[in-house]
Amino acid sequence: MSTPAKISLRDVHKAFGTKKVLQGVDLDIAAGESVAIIGGSGTGKSVTLKCILGLLTPDKGSIMVDGVDMTQASRSDHEDMLAKTGMLFQGAALFDSLSVWQNVAFGLIEGKGMKPKVARDLAIARLSDVGLSADVANLSPSSLSGGMQKRVGLARAIATEPEILFFDEPTTGIDPIMGDVINDLIVKCTRDLGASAVTITHDMASARKIADRVAMLYQGKIIWDGPVSEIDQTDNPYLQQFVAGDIEGPLDLDLKHL
């Protein structure tokens, strides 16, 4: 890799009781690069993301962000890291008790201490960036459709102009057309900010559109890592099966109940 890694995971392990979810994950994400982590349900994609964010503590290994090992970091180092990240959650995770604009402006007001009036104007500008008009600013998140909630979640993630963006299953739960709109918005926002992006998804169309590079997670390890353009040329049977969506193949899927 020619540029220094913005995020670097080395031999990351995480278990919940006897269930070993991550068993030595190694992954580098360069500055300005967009990487999609793909894999089936329960392979540890979300756990990987939560370990990077510090929401979960790995049992072993190191997670470097801008050269600081987050597994050993002080509280202030961790706060510094969070201050330069934005995250779009799978279900958007909008705060029910706040209006749409208050959700978008939350990081600006509570995280950066911005005055609410200034933050409101910025929030409306961010809503416009994701294709939402100022009319929705005062609505409650529960009155929005799933696609609109994802867009508000995206506006909230980019509101503080972060250097690193995380997307957790950005197209799950919405129709394919709205999914494509979200993908386009993610590409646009990431490019405009010049941010590094990590997307976890099992939607190959989304991965192809959003990412420069794809890493496949299986049985707690990255088993394939390469440019998006090489997905279809790979001779890796696990990735071939996952991309094709075949039931038959080497992937040990949890299909016992079928």
């Binding site: 964010l53 934005g86 959650f89 995770a93 909008l94 705060f95 939350f106 990081g107 509570e110 995280g111």
Partner: protein, 257 residues
Amino acid sequence: MPIFAPVGHMFLSFLALVGRVTVFAGRTIGHMIAPPIYFRLIFKQMREIGYFSLPVVAMTTLFAGMVLALQSYSGFSRFSAESAVATVVVISMTRELGPVLAGLMVAGRVGAAIAAEIGTMRVTEQIDALVTLSTNPFKYLVVPRVIAGLLTLPILVLIGDILGVLGGYMVGVNKLGFNEASYIRSTFQYLEQLDVVSGLVKAAVFGFIITLMGCYHGYNSRGGAQGVGQATTNAVVSSSILILIANYIVTELFFSR
């Protein structure tokens, strides 16, 4: 013997729970004295916990005072001590019934609501979202509720005490035939400052317990809607039991000779 294994397991689980709640309470107190403090959220929670609990606390204590006057009159008449009714009503209300009834009613109303709200935030990843937005969930969600509980329960209990005594007065004067002036004089004649203060201290302790247990069970809820429902039940049950235990301990501290 195998019969003791489940008992031992339950005892160890209970000790682990006590440890977790103690750590949670310690973290809460630590965050209560360190900035930033979200005053806006504290005032909002004071309105939710205090103002909106006023009707239920008022009704409960008013009728408790009325029943107390009727019962004590009926009992005391057996040994010609009817004149003690006003004193019994005011001391019972301020020392015991005011704080305990208000505490249990607020535990049902507020403890459940706190556990459900924070539990839903947990299972829908809103608490994780707070962290990613550089906001400490403890300071933003737990501390304002606990401070609001500590401050508003004594106010609620003071209002409840007054309404309880009013209930006793209404029954005493209108139904039992007491003279208005002598009933009021009897009410204040043997009332001591400690009676009221001990009740208000109890109220503050109960406010801490109710909000802490609501936050603890909500914060640690898992497993979707079923987990949130379980957290709500646990919050109400555990805070109600702890209120009764704390009531004895505070009474012992104030009045044991």
